[in-house]
């Protein structure tokens, strides 16, 4: 079965989605969507670095994403520029530097579109192993971190006063994000990773009464979107990343349809708040 490229792609997509869902919930709760985008864009710099130094791709992408997130945290403390501007600067400059570096490497043939938007054919057995091992690591880390991270998400000071070290939780969370970006890159593509983090989690919000339920539902919706999107990709010969995101969006839109049993007032309020 693993010989079939499509089956490998489905396994990879589901593996990535199962991890991205729960992590994406925190991205939404902590309002870090743009932050995730910036880390994902920096992955292209990691790819260029990996090709130039001939180091393992996963390691380079993870390292660059981690460095960027630490850099950003440091810059935020200085405080003259808003986080928004800092993210804009880092997001686009890392992407641009990555593209420029790749352009210099005339000897290496790079499938740029594949990296940017994901490639259904690109998932090797090794990639699959890395996705599932890496994904398991991320989920284990998130489970261990759950209470302090959730408490710090609700209120950092409360978490600090009651001895849960929110600073450490945030740091580990960023490393987990970097790892997810590294493993999700091949199948989703770096430009669309954030969508897989956010859209299933946003879809799950409406049906969830607790944070834990939302995380599980997000993983489920993500996996569903991955399978659906990959079939779409196979059937219509479309790139895998965008197809998965379109499927995720489809689920999100379906979930918006008002059902009598749901409280609509709450949903409208949620929608309004997230326009910013």
């Amino acid at each position: 079965m693993l010989d079939d490229f499509f089956f490998r792609a489905v396994l990879a997509g589901v593996g990535v989605a199962l991890v991205a869902g729960p992590l994406g919930c925190f991205v939404i709760w902590r309002r870090m969507a743009y932050f995730g985008d910036t880390m994902a864009h920096s992955a292209l710099l990691g790819i260029a670095l990996s090709l130039a130094l001939e180091w393992p791709l996963l390691l380079c992408v993870f390292a660059i994403a981690a460095v960027i997130s630490l850099l950003l945290t440091g810059l935020q403390r200085r405080g003259t520029l808003s986080t928004d501007s800092l993210l804009g600067i880092l997001s686009h400059s890392t992407l641009a530097i990555g593209l420029v570096l790749l352009a210099f490497m005339t000897t290496v043939r790079v499938d740029l579109l594949g990296y940017l938007f994901g490639d259904i054919l690109a998932v090797s057995r090794l990639d699959l192993a890395m996705i599932w091992v890496g994904g398991a690591l991320v989920l284990a880390g998130l489970a261990m971190l759950w209470r302090p991270l959730l408490a710090a998400t609700v209120n950092e000071e409360l978490a600090a006063a009651e001895g849960l070290s929110p600073g450490r939780a945030r740091l580990v969370f960023m490393l987990l994000m970097a790892l997810v970006i590294a493993i999700a890159m091949k199948i989703i593509g770096i430009l669309l990773i954030t969508a897989l983090l956010i859209i299933p989690a946003a879809t799950a919000r409406r049906f969830a009464a607790t944070p834990e339920m939302m995380a599980c539902l997000a993983a489920g919706f993500g996996a569903l979107a991955a399978v659906g999107g990959l079939y779409l990709s196979l059937g219509f010969d479309t790139p895998s990343g965008p197809s998965i995101v379109v499927a995720a969006l489809g689920l999100f839109v379906l979930a918006l349809i008002p059902l009598p049993s749901f409280r609509r007032s709450e949903e409208t309020a949620t929608g309004l708040e997230h326009r910013s």
Binding site: E157, E162, R205, E266, A269
Partner: protein, 306 residues
């Protein structure tokens, strides 16, 4: 003087939960607070008052370890368990959080303890409700329940009646004072309007970048100086009194007096004599137009009526 329980008297003689020793916090070259000396004893209600920006919240945050002091030190008992009710807590609407789930945010607890804590503050019927749907008073009660569920020996309440209407305010203060007796915990209360809570407080600390004065409200109310200053009726009703500090704190930590002279920080020379209305301190201290030139850490102590 009315200490609520004999227990409290006994507990107070044991070691302090938190000891702050000439501590200060500095941000962007300015001292938010400096020269703070403070012990918090088991079972007491200690209230911090002071105008906006006087460092009440900073002092409380330093006490429980949310921020580290830039000078001096803070000692915490190993037995210290803090229950914290922050000044502002806005739960993002994207986070589905029921009252039940919020109870166990920082600690594990079984169903029965959660119900008991919610019962204690009178909102057990709301246990399934999303926190976003609670009114201001209900939310404050939920936060209180969450804090006492940890079985703290120190409850820190930063302006706990914000966003609560007046009758709710009185009920909430009643509850806080009951909690001290039922839970046996010390309470560090931050308030800028003390007239309701005053009778329940054991000790009051007035801050204005440093400790201005300190004392028990009852002794203060009974003191001749207070009566002289405000009259018998004010003393009886523990009415709000207003005073203005006759100095401003310069960015470098020095103090400029209204007569134009300056002094090193902590040379605490307030004449609490005026009836200016820039801020008010409901607590009665008999700081009767005194001006003292001694150094940092000085404060006016008003221990129990001698």
């Amino acid at each position: 003087m009315k200490f609520p329980t004999v227990d409290f008297m006994r507990q107070q003689s044991t070691a302090a939960l938190i000891g702050i020793r000439s501590a200060g916090v500095r941000r962007s070259g300015r001292w938010l607070v400096r020269g703070i000396d403070l012990d918090i004893h088991p079972g007491e209600i200690l209230t911090l008052i002071g105008p906006n920006g006087s460092g009440k919240t900073t002092t409380a945050k330093m006490a429980v370890g949310i921020i580290e002091p830039d000078e001096g030190r803070v000692e915490r008992s190993r037995k210290l368990v803090v229950g914290y009710v922050p000044q502002k807590l806005a739960v993002d609407r994207s986070l589905p959080l029921s009252v039940d789930r919020m109870m166990t945010l920082t600690t594990r607890a079984d169903r029965r303890s959660v119900d008991a804590a919610l019962d204690r503050v009178g909102i057990r019927h709301l246990s399934r409700a999303p926190v976003h749907d609670l009114s201001g008073g209900e939310f404050q009660r939920a936060l209180l329940a969450r804090a006492i569920l940890r079985k703290p020996n120190l409850l820190v309440l930063d302006e706990p009646v914000q966003g609560v209407d007046f009758s709710g305010e009185i009920a909430l203060y009643e509850l806080i004072s009951e909690l001290r007796e039922s839970e046996g915990c010390a309470i560090l209360l931050i308030s800028h309007d003390l007239h309701v809570v005053m009778a329940k407080t054991d000790r009051v600390l007035c801050l204005n970048g440093h400790v201005c004065c300190e004392g028990t409200p009852s002794s203060v109310a009974a003191s001749p100086a207070y009566k002289q200053l405000f009259g018998e009726r004010a003393a009886e009703s523990l009415a709000v009194y207003r005073h203005h500090h006759d100095h401003t704190h310069l960015p470098d930590g020095r103090i400029a007096y209204s007569d134009g002279s300056t002094a090193e920080h902590g040379a605490c020379g307030h004449g609490h004599h005026g009836h200016g209305d820039d801020h008010h301190h409901p607590v009665g201290t008999q700081d009767n137009a005194h001006r003292h030139g001694d150094q940092a850490g000085h404060r006016e102590r008003q221990d129990d009526h001698a």
